[in-house]
């Protein structure tokens, strides 16, 4: 079993390496390099040459890639081109903010949707099942900014219960942080709930058609007991992976929500960097996003192996 887990972990690292090559290559392929982006209209051939030398851009790409990568591993992404600030110092608080919001949304979304998914499976075809399905499908079927604006309209403008600006500041206490980020956390919950709920329901139901479940029923157990004790543990693997996928989405896919609620997360930083062509910042954000995505999925794989007896001993 250890070997499988180790393999998964190594595969995760390899994926990340491949992504880092892609990120680096993509920014290399872009027409015009960093030097011409910074110099803009003042880019005379002479100035370009001097500036490229200053930035070390006149050396071969693979040398620069390994320098960048070894820096990144140590957490050193260099300095931003636009204002010369150290990138990691700028990214760190933003990334922590993003993790905070994702965590808050996950605390609401995961128990809610997995719980509702199980309830829906227990009551398959009944009213509760249909209601849960319809509601969550509705929230996933509209664009995220629309949900966000609806929440703002009802909870911030019409009834001033929550602020529509979710900007957090260093001096804020934990309670206040939770309060101001409630609306974006709710919006995110609505976005990811449907996926997790339906996956939970489906995987529980697919296990339900197995002979050993029939056996459990024949023993005279109640439906809820059969589902919780016998079906759920075997349905856990797909649920874990869909939860991980959604957690990753909460971290990397929240740019729009961050913009609408004016939340200082890493997504907004990346959008600003793209519009200013600040490539080192874009690269850093890209790598951090990839790290979060690959890391969570690898973790899900490993957990799925751990909870499933059959995966622990591959044939």
């Amino acid at each position: 079993m250890l070997r499988i887990i180790a393999t998964r972990a190594v595969l995760g690292v390899l994926t990340l390496l491949a992504v880092s090559v892609l990120i680096f290559a993509a920014t290399e392929i872009l027409p015009g390099d960093v030097a011409s982006a910074v110099l803009g209209q003042g880019a005379t051939p002479d100035a370009l040459k001097v500036f490229r030398h200053e930035l070390g851009l006149d050396r071969p790409a693979y040398v620069r890639y390994f320098e960048w990568l070894s820096g990144a591993v140590r957490g050193d992404f260099g300095v931003a081109l636009t204002n010369g600030r150290i990138i990691i110092d700028e990214v760190r608080p933003r990334f922590i903010n993003t993790l905070f919001l994702a965590g808050y949304a996950a605390i609401i979304a995961v128990p809610l949707s997995v719980g509702l998914g199980i309830v829906a499976a227990i009551n398959e075809g009944k009213f509760v099942d249909k209601l849960a399905n319809i509601l969550t499908l509705m929230t996933i079927s509209v664009p995220e900014f629309f949900i966000a604006y609806l929440l703002i309209l009802f909870f911030a403008v019409d009834n001033e219960w929550f602020p529509s600006l979710s900007t957090v500041f260093p001096e804020m206490g934990l309670g206040e942080r939770f309060y101001v980020t409630t609306l974006p956390a709710l919006a995110l919950t609505m976005l990811v709930a449907a996926h997790m709920l339906r996956m939970t329901r489906t995987s529980v139901l697919s296990v339900m058609s197995q002979p050993y479940i029939e056996m459990a029923f024949l023993k005279g157990l109640s439906r809820s007991r059969v589902i919780l004790k016998h079906a759920l543990p075997n349905a856990a693997a797909p649920i874990i992976s869909v939860v991980a996928l959604n957690l990753a989405y909460l971290i990397v896919g929240v740019v729009v929500i961050e913009v609408v609620f004016v939340y200082p997360g890493i997504g907004q930083l990346m959008v600003d960097a793209v519009s200013k062509r600040d490539l080192p910042v874009v690269q850093a954000c890209g790598l951090i996003f990839a790290g979060a995505f690959v890391g969570l999925n690898t973790l899900a794989d490993i957990l799925a192996i751990l909870v499933n007896p059959r995966l622990r001993k591959p044939r």
Binding site: N83, Y149, L153, L165, V262, A273
Partner: protein, 527 residues
């Protein structure tokens, strides 16, 4: 000239409805309820009250903003910088230059030599008293080896000489009667001589820096003992970066911010109904939207065709449909009615399909292929504007092809490179800068390639002319020449739309920038 006269001038020219005119007066009245004194920038009869926290939600900046004036390019840096520091010359609400740290000035005939008096008794936040050396150093930041955007407009300065600790003499390479206006540029902030540590700003402004988190917020605290007695009235000013228009609007409605810039023209009518809000509209001083034909390319080298293209655009329809009425018709040049030398006597060109058809026929180019290149990269509604244009030309029997091109690289690949395309221009501080950058022969930004000997001579002569009446005549003639003969169809100039909570006083329209010249932190107070 009072604000009211200005409004009258705009409406007399603009073909605006009486209702809009009254709304405009109401906007001024609401902002300057304490009297005309505010508009002329003099002390108010009613003294502004001190205290409170002003929260401004703004678009126009990002995480890369810095406190170095050489990097300023958008609204938020201008706003915090004017709270922390002072400029050399201020533009008042009537559009006239007034002394700021350069208190007063005079010039000799020819306008090449200027004497400026440095304001006395002004102290920096580090305790140093302002003198001529600080001014020389601060201007020097933008000349010589520098990336400062102000470098170009300062190139005319040949020499700055210190006559005394409080007097400076500027020698220009050519006469320029508008030189004080040039010094009102927002990059020209004054810091102490030798100052380099930009992350810890030292200035003469009414506020000091409390928190600087670019991309998130900037917090400013009142210093007290500000040399402008009736200004800088808030205890605290908090500028919040709110890039999303809807987020800004809803924050204003729910009272989380007290002021917001760049309201959405499509929804501002609804906001005007909100009893808690005061919407201040500065008419027609924003972006100048144009379609520009190069007069050196066939068939646009035909003057009658250019006139046909100018008469064939339905300005009113574009303004009503695309800008929901919140723009002012352009008169085929990029000057607006707030410039002191705006030609009020020249009639506003209106949509006239018959005249367009007449000139088109006269041009004899019925088989010519007319293709207008447009893109969202020019401005977000450029394609919509072009489509209405196409429709309105059709009624005059002129068929126009529209080619929609990629937004990315529009200014590099299309503008200045194709015969007919969509362009927008920003405001420039002086008439001379507009005319010599956009229309004079040889200017690298003369996008219509227009060249007119009479115009070129007039621009140079007017620049050094100190007799206001003669200068006015020259500039009026220049505008007529562009409008009659030039290749630019300038059809609309956007409005600045600011939103304030009703309790914010001192909110008046200003031609240079929105939020009362980005000085609401300094000029405003709470009722």
């Amino acid at each position: 000239m009072t604000e009211l006269d200005k409004l009258q001038a705009i409406y007399a020219n603009g073909g605006m409805s009486r209702r809009d005119f009254l709304a405009g007066i109401a906007a001024i009245g609401a902002g300057a309820s304490s009297g005309a004194a505010l508009l002329s920038g003099q002390a108010l009869a009613e003294t502004p009250k001190k205290g409170g926290t002003l929260r401004i939600g703004m678009e126009g900046g990002g995480p890369s903003d810095s406190l170095d004036p050489r990097t300023y390019a958008d609204s938020i840096p201008i706003a915090y910088s004017l709270a922390l520091m002072n400029g050399l010359v201020e533009i008042n609400n009537a559009g006239k230059a007034e002394g700021e740290l350069l208190e007063s000035w005079e010039t000799k005939p020819g306008a090449t030599e200027w004497i400026f008096n440095v304001r006395k008794g002004v102290k920096f936040s580090n305790g140093k008293t302002l003198d001529a050396d600080d001014i020389i150093y601060s201007i020097g930041l933008h000349t010589g080896e520098t990336k400062s955007p102000a470098k170009g407009i300062l190139a005319q300065i040949k020499e700055i000489k210190k006559l005394s600790p409080n007097q400076l003499q500027f020698t220009l390479s050519d006469g320029n009667a508008d030189f004080p206006y040039v010094l009102s540029d927002y990059h020209l902030m004054v810091v102490p001589n030798g100052f380099t540590e930009w992350s810890k700003p030292v200035g003469t402004g009414g506020y000091s820096l409390e928190t600087f988190e670019p991309g998130v917020r900037v917090v400013l605290k009142r210093k007290g003992d500000y040399w402008k007695k009736d200004r800088a009235n808030f205890d605290t000013v908090e500028i919040r970066y709110i890039t999303d228009k809807t987020a800004r609007t809803s924050a204003l409605q729910s009272g989380q911010i007290d002021a917001a810039n760049r309201l959405d023209a499509r929804t501002v009518k609804l906001l005007m109904k909100d009893p808690k809000l005061n919407i201040v509209r500065t008419e027609g001083t924003g972006n100048r939207y144009c379609f520009v034909a190069r007069v050196t390319d066939s068939p646009y080298d035909n003057k009658d065709l250019r006139l046909a293209l100018k008469y064939g655009i339905d300005r009113k329809k574009i303004i009503d449909q695309v800008f929901t009425g919140f723009a002012t018709p352009g008169n085929d040049h990029t000057l607006d009615a707030f410039y002191p030398y705006y030609n009020k006597t020249m009639p506003q060109r209106a949509y006239d399909p018959e005249k367009a058809a007449f000139h088109f026929k006269k041009a004899g180019l019925s088989n010519a292929k007319l293709e207008l290149q447009t893109s969202e990269g020019a401005w977000d509604s450029a394609v919509d504007c072009a489509q209405i244009y196409q429709e309105s030309l059709k009624k005059a029997g002129i068929s126009l092809d529209i080619k929609k091109v990629a937004a990315d690289g529009y200014w590099d690949n299309v503008w200045l490179k194709v015969p007919f395309c969509a362009v927008y221009w920003g405001r420039r501080p002086t008439v001379d800068l507009v005319l010599s950058q956009v229309y004079k022969s040889g200017s690298s930004w003369n996008d219509s390639n227009w060249s007119n000997a009479e115009f070129d001579k007039l621009v140079v002569a007017a620049r050094g002319e100190l007799d206001d009446k003669k200068r006015r005549e020259m500039y009026f003639r220049c505008q007529e020449l562009i409008s009659e003969d030039g290749g630019m169809i300038c059809f609309a100039i956007s409005d600045y739309l600011d939103g304030y909570s009703k309790k914010v006083m001192g909110a008046a329209p200003h031609a240079r920038y929105d939020l009362n010249d980005q000085r609401i932190a300094e000029k405003g107070w709470f009722a």
